[in-house]
């Protein structure tokens, strides 16, 4: 007697969705290429950004003392450290001086170029190495011999002044021999942007140049290398505290190896945030592609889904099969995406090599690609849930009779709830991991608003098409009907096109805003040239020189005064000339 399936010989069906999903994929990936590309690109963007940022952060952390030029740096502007301050530093470790200023380097043929002068003492560099071409000890390259001080320069200076290594230039009153090309300078990043090529000379050369006058803009960097046995972070903080306590009037800027380049760190973090948001946007736009691809796929599999159900699969089982398929496909997209993204720092470091002006330490940080992978899967799941919810409700009746699919506009409530939950998880993750949560929250809110707005627009278009009078042309009538019929593609088309346009407009707006930001920082009558540190005695002669060569140029003179704190005397009146 027939008794249906025996309950013995049963096993758990945990792997069944995977097995069935794999069989479903035998049909090939047609229709899923966009899906896979969307996820791959989004994941790649996020993985690349976070891997690069981690590499830079690690570089900054590991190379902090090299970038800073010491464990601690004490910087003074316009004045040198006094005897008490020097004594304080020398008591606590090896101190080194690096003075920086801008000046004009002049070739023997009269050509001149603005240079970023860096004058160092024999202890420089405390950490890292200076690379010269040809190779030679720094002290030898900078030494005074044959009536001239030595210098190492950026190759750019040679190009600008049409010089060759070995050429002689003047810096103020000092005669300088260019003895080497400076190929690597360990503490360069912390110097920030330069306005001219580097001219590395000795402290003696700078003093011999006569450029260091009262009021001259010179930044005096005193770097301190703590003793090896006492160079812990605690010891470092103790020195900083002592400096503030014992020399409260010094007015120097204190930095430690832990924040060797705050500006760079901030830039790296902002860059990470901005690009992460770009990556998320890519994923978001890709999510619409995912939803469309899944909907298209499921529409084509309604018969198979109905067959599964006729053979004993519940709606939940059907959902599990196709959800697994979506996750497998998302994985297929995410894995190459994260591999490429994780490899990017290595590629950048390899291709740019020492020319990279950033302390990039390429390393595999599993957390970064893992996070990108999670973002990819979450996006795929969030956007696939809605169409998958419809699969839950595919009627088996389609197998018995031809019928127009009367798909409900909303999937069953659990799928709506799950979609909202996953969407919220994605949003919270994006906000929580952002550098600036406020911006990330605005981004998320804007994304949701755009979705809602575009859906409303689609609804309006459908309503308008429904109310239009029926045209005579069958072609136009059919086209209109396709806009508003049940299951019309109008919402997904409007969403895809609208979101794509929104992203393009956003990118263009951001670019425009950035440009305006930079331009706004410049006054309308921004000078074409700056001439700095013109001695007051030469001001008249300088004016005459300019008038003779550019009679229509407008000259603006800005004088700078510094009131010496103790002597209460005006020590300088330098001119900043501007010609246009």
């Amino acid at each position: 007697m027939n008794a249906g399936l025996s309950l013995s010989h049963r096993r758990g069906g945990a792997l069944l969705p995977l097995r069935f999903a794999a069989r479903e994929l035998r049909g090939g990936l047609r229709g899923f290429y966009v899906f896979i590309a969307c996820i791959a690109l989004g994941v790649m963007a996020i993985a690349a950004v976070s891997s690069l940022a981690s590499g830079l952060a690690e570089g900054l952390a590991r190379e902090g003392r090299v970038i800073l030029g010491g464990d601690l740096a004490f910087t003074l502007s316009l004045r040198e450290a006094n005897a008490d301050e020097r004594a304080f530093l020398e008591r606590r470790g090896i101190a080194s001086l690096a003075a920086t200023m801008r000046a004009m380097a002049r070739a023997q043929d009269g050509r001149a170029a603005l240079v970023e002068v860096k004058a160092v003492d024999p202890a420089y560099p405390l950490y890292g190495t200076v690379a010269l071409d040809p190779q030679q000890p720094l002290a030898q390259a900078l030494a005074y011999r044959d009536g001239a001080f030595g210098a190492a320069v950026d190759r750019t200076l040679l190009v600008r002044l049409d010089l060759k290594p070995g050429a002689r230039i003047t810096l103020g009153a000092a005669t300088i021999d260019i003895r080497a090309i400076l190929t690597s300078e360990p503490d360069r990043i912390a110097s920030g942007l330069g306005f001219g090529p580097r001219l590395l000379v000795s402290e003696d050369a700078l003093r011999a140049s006569g450029l260091v006058q009262p009021g001259t803009i010179v930044r005096w960097h005193y770097r301190l290398r703590l003793p090896e046995q006492d160079s812990t972070d605690t010891a470092m903080r103790a020195v900083m505290a002592a400096a503030r306590a014992q020399l409260p009037e010094a007015g120097w800027e204190l930095r430690s190896r832990a924040n060797a380049s705050p500006a760079l760190e901030q830039n790296v973090e902002r860059f990470t945030q901005y690009l992460t948001l770009v990556g998320l946007t890519a994923l978001l736009v890709g999510g619409v592609g995912v939803a469309n691809a899944v909907k298209g796929h499921l529409d084509g599999r309604r018969e198979v889904i109905a067959t599964f159900k006729a053979l004993g699969a519940s709606g939940r089982r059907v959902f599990a099969i196709y959800f697994t398929q979506v996750l497998v496909l998302a994985g297929l997209g995410a894995i190459p995406g994260l591999l490429v993204g994780a490899a990017l720092p290595f590629v950048v470091a390899w291709s740019l090599g020492p020319g990279l002006p950033l302390p990039l330490v390429p390393a595999l940080h599993p957390g970064d690609p893992a996070l990108a992978f999670i973002f990819g899967l979450l996006t795929a799941a969030t956007f696939a849930l809605w169409p998958l919810g419809h699969a839950h409700d595919v009627p088996v009746s389609a197998l018995f009779r031809d019928e127009v699919a009367s798909e409900r506009r909303w999937p069953p409530p659990p799928y709506v709830a799950a979609t909202i939950l996953l969407g919220c998880t994605l949003a919270v993750l994006a906000v929580e991991l952002a550098y600036d949560r406020r911006i990330a929250a605005i981004f998320v809110a804007a994304a949701v608003a755009v979705f809602v707005l575009l859906r409303l627009v689609a609804g309006l278009i459908m309503a308008a098409a429904r109310r239009l009078p029926r045209p005579r042309s069958p072609l136009v009538r059919l086209a209109l009907a396709n806009i508003h019929r049940p299951g019309a593609l109008t919402p997904s088309v409007v969403l895809s096109v609208g979101l794509g346009l929104a992203v393009m407009v956003a990118v263009i707006s951001i670019e425009g805003n950035l440009r305006r930001h930079f331009l706004a920082a410049l006054p309308d009558s921004a000078p074409s040239f700056y001439f700095v540190d013109i001695p007051a005695a030469d001001a008249q002669a300088f004016d005459a020189f300019i008038r003779a060569r550019a009679s229509r140029a407008a000259l603006e003179r800005v004088s700078r005064e510094r009131r010496a704190r103790r002597k209460f005397e005006t020590v300088s009146g330098s001119a900043l000339g501007a010609a246009r």
């Binding site: 198979v304 067959t307 159900k309 939940r316 089982r317 009746s397 018995f400």
Partner: protein, 274 residues
Amino acid sequence: MQANVWTRAAQVPYDRDNAGPPATEGRKEQRNMQDTSGSGRAEPAVVLSGVNLSLGRGAARVHILKDLDLHIDRGEAIGLLGPSGSGKSTLLMVMAGLERIDTGSVVVAGEALDALSEDALARFRGRNIGIVFQSFHLIPTMTALENVAVPLELAGLDDAHERAARELAAVGLSGRRQHYPAELSGGEQQRVALARALAPDPRILIADEPTGNLDEGTGAEIIDLLFAGHAQRGTTLVLVTHDPALALRCDRTVRLRSGRIEAVPDGAPAGAKP
């Protein structure tokens, strides 16, 4: 094992040396088994009472099944006849638990389907109902063997593929296990579909015009297999057909018109028992 018994019977059309009339004899055998069950009347396979069902919404809503009563004994084979739109397919779906009724009650294999949740209905269907469609509805990305194994795998059986292989052998398709539906002829596809429907040893086998897409000769082979399976396993068979001659092979004929069961004409091979 049931499947082995049927395997021998079902191979008849392909094994002329062992040819015989197993379907008819098997059916008699089954009827005799029922008769000796003790009470004189076996537990009914399907009982529909006062079933009403409408489909569609608003102005498009159509009353398909109207106050329908039907009683089908276990092991019985009934032919369901009627013009297009009379409600035959809908009636099959109601029996299979694929369509919820508006009023009335549906009891299949002793289970009141109205009381079951969607998941429970799916499990019930997987265990108790086998369906053969006119258009086969094989899953194109699965081999013949995998297609037959689907209901067994959904039911969580460890030996799904072994059982599926036996079912395929029973319909004479051992050599086609690894073929995909697109690589099979229409007749072969329907045989795979029949093997799939019978693989879980269902209590009720529903066939919706199973020869509708086949030529006459191939259709006859399928019908022989269908009746052989019914007879050897004691499965209740509900066969929808437009062919009165085919309906005559059933124990009883039920004719539907406009959602109601018509009175059975005199001279029918078996009386309707609404």
